[in-house]
Amino acid sequence: MTDLTSLTLAEARKGLADKTFTSLELTDAHLTAIEAARVLNAFVMETPDQARAMAREADSRIAKGDAGPLAGIPLGIKDLFATRGVRTTACSKILGNFVPTYESTVTSQLWRDGAVMLGKLNNDEFAMGSSNETSCFGPVGNPWRRDGSNTTLVPGGSSGGSASAVAALLCMGATATDTGGSIRQPAAFTATVGIKPTYGRCSRWGIVAFASSLDQAGPIARSVRDAAMLLRSMAGHDPKDTTSVDIPVPDYEAAIGKSVKGMKIGIPREYRLDGMPAEIEKLWQAGADWLKSAGAELVEVSLPHTKYALPAYYIVAPAEASSNLARYDGVRYGLREPAKNIIELYENTRAEGFGAEVKRRVMIGTYVLSAGYYDAYYLRAQKVRTLIKKDFEDCFAKGVDAILTPATPSAAFGIGEKGGADPVEMYLNDIFTVTVNMAGLPGIAVPAGKDAQGLPLGLQLIGRPFDEETLFSLGEVIEQAAGRFTPARWW
């Protein structure tokens, strides 16, 4: 039998249906791979007993011919998703040993459809970071290394554990979340496929909140088709999230292989940055050429407020975070530091429980919302956000079906290499992805090639609201042209 961990989700589904192997065998193969890859630090909690029990259940349902669309498929779950009875920490000390008594809507839909949980995946603390270095469980290693080097690189963030685990073949797919690029940037750094759907497409209920007007869940997967299969189960209306949208979930997989002939693809001139590495420029051109050969029409478009998206984000996201994270008070759950009075209890608990990046963002958010500064910062940022969204609307109104950009301004970098002196250096990682969150649009990152040092690079496609299907069709064209990329195993 071929190594079961090297299959795509679509191939595994076929093998399970044909009874070539069982879910228990598939699950055990992944559990063994996880054990052998602990040096990557992708999992913060392994749940082998639960995984095997879920696999046996899936096998019996498959035998009875009553299998859901993801029956028996082993997945990893970002530690931001509440999982009933399984520790959920957002990789923050402040949640300590929090064990939810409820299940997030997105994960409950995956289990409804028969998926198997292998464990919880590392991420930046409260999803605040672009390198997975802010986790209280320590950094995650990228399975990719530079040619001829044994320096460990970051997998990107905040969904670094998800991306690393999928790329290292430790799980067949993973849940992730994206507030400013946290699905797409790590996908690009690890040669995996990641899609952030339209805001409102997936329920946020049961996902630890960072910035509620920007947060969206989505999958990281081994192929475009796999991502389509996972998103179909994750998406859908949920009365428990008032921002979740009540429109039917299409069969995203049906969009794979659909012709893109005649589609109009925008190339935004503002994404051509000064000092952008030549290989990223080259990759972007290659992506445009592939879509053109598939029959799409390329047009130059303008998104004039692009450069303001990242600064506006660093007002809006910390402001919402400072409000959302007010709940961590040492009273109802999680860490509690001793104190003489209640104010000290809050202050000591939060000083001890939050890491440096989270403190910085909570403080900046507190400042921009404080009396006398609200208009100058927060209100202005929300107006700029309106302008950013309008840029996209104008572009789509001219008949553009999707926009092609690089996913990141560079390939993966080393642990400790960035953001030490100036936090803004790290923030610039999200320069191509953050506009999409600000406008609530869907965006997919697809592996497209490698840089001169052998590291993966990705392209991003941005779509109209609730038109993830077009992104899957276009993403498939890129995947077919570029091929798929697997790292050489060193762990």
Binding site: T101, Y102, R350, A351, I364, T366, Y367, Q382, K383, D422
Partner: protein, 95 residues
């Protein structure tokens, strides 16, 4: 705009995060780096622009005003660091 050391202490208190004196200069530098970065927004003409309130144009959904949950006090206090019965315990608040 930039913040001075006194403002850093005030923000920390508003955010309910204890900050020691020797952390202040470092935090001040980082916060000012972020404020310098967002400063470029002041060059955008936002006159007559509505601030965004909802990224997807949708009517706010309203729930039926009925009891649909409850009787789960055990669950609510299950993760609390200190409880007595179904109550959260905190240091004395009122003298």
């Amino acid at each position: 705009m930039s913040v001075d050391a006194a403002t850093v202490r005030r923000i920390a208190h508003l955010a309910r995060i204890a900050v020691s004196e020797d952390e202040v200069p470092h935090l001040q530098g980082e916060l000012n780096a972020m404020l310098a970065f967002v400063e470029q927004l002041s060059e955008v003409n936002v006159e007559g622009v509505e601030p965004m309130t909802s990224v997807t144009p949708m009517q706010m959904k309203k729930r039926q005003d009925v009891v649909n949950d409850g009787e789960i006090a055990d669950d609510i206090v299950a993760n609390a660091p200190a409880t007595e019965g179904h109550f959260f315990l905190v240091p004395k608040v009122v003298e």
